[in-house]
Symmetry: C2
DNA sequence: ATTCCAAGGTTGATACGTCAACCATAGGCT
DNA sequence: AGCCTATGGTTGACGTATCAACCTTGGAAT
């Protein structure tokens, strides 16, 4: 078959895959942000600060654990700082910056945990069969490496 | 088990699912946009105008077929119009607007087709097993309906 | 004929993502 | 000492997504 075009079925597969993701992910995110005021990024950051960092992390560590680049994180932290969810404190030992969860951030996180869990369970986990679980885990394994150029 | 928290495995499943999507989708989009100058939205719009609409569509029809709301489409068309990919023409029969692909838009689309196909094939289709295909199609079927509130 | 409403769009504000340019400095090299 | 570079961050610009407010007008209801 011609490598330069997709047939009906291939196209449908691509659109279906995209569609399912957006639908499910969108439901989770909307549920969560409407009920907690936290976006997915907010939640991920607070979660890592609290659990992985025990309250604080260097910005670079945080960026690595989120798999975000430093610019994206910097912008996001600026917004979160404005809302009082985190604080930044420059280290004088080296030129790094320590990101610290505030008490407002901590309680927002505490409130959000059960909501996030419920949303993920309802819209995602509860929809999956064993087949889906197997497919998800194996596909991730298979695609983790960079593709050959 | 407590319905209000997720265990290790459930969390890993969620993160893995999100991660795979972003990784694969990101590769396709980046490949495509770098080589063609068209974003996914641009491509989807031009594709529908050309094939589904035979060159033009009412804005509302276009929005429906993209599954976008009118505001999102309006903003996007404004940007595309500025780049000369489409034109807008108001209908005097009713208060609708006709969106028309320009010749620049048509040739951008023609150039992009094989690139898009190759990117989707390489990063997505070629990574899938029969198991994945089955999972994708069935999950979509299962989650299509609105969730019960 | 008025009134009212829904359809079809636009606009502005704000959040989010990405890219490239920039800045400061700690450490290594010569 | 003087120079270089990698590290760690910030910033501005631009594209994209969402939400709410708004505008216009064709028709329906009374």
């Amino acid at each position: 078959m011609d490598k330069n075009e997709l047939n009906e079925e291939e196209m449908r597969l691509w659109h279906t895959w995209k569609g399912s993701f957006h639908r499910i992910f969108g439901r989770v995110i909307k549920d969560m942000s409407e009920r907690t005021g936290l976006s997915e990024g907010d939640y991920g950051i607070l979660d890592r600060l609290a659990l992985f960092g025990n309250g604080s992390l260097r910005q670079q560590e945080l960026a690595d654990s989120m798999d975000w680049d430093k610019s994206r994180l910097s912008h996001h932290l600026t917004r979160m700082e404005k809302r009082g969810l985190v604080m930044r404190k420059s280290l004088d030992t080296d030129r790094g910056v320590l990101v610290i969860i505030t008490s407002a951030g901590q309680s927002a996180l505490d409130d959000a945990r059960p909501v996030a869990a419920a949303a993920i369970r309802k819209h995602f986990l509860d929809q999956l069969t064993d087949l889906d679980v197997e497919s998800i885990m194996k596909l991730a394994e298979r695609t983790k490496a960079r593709p050959a150029e």
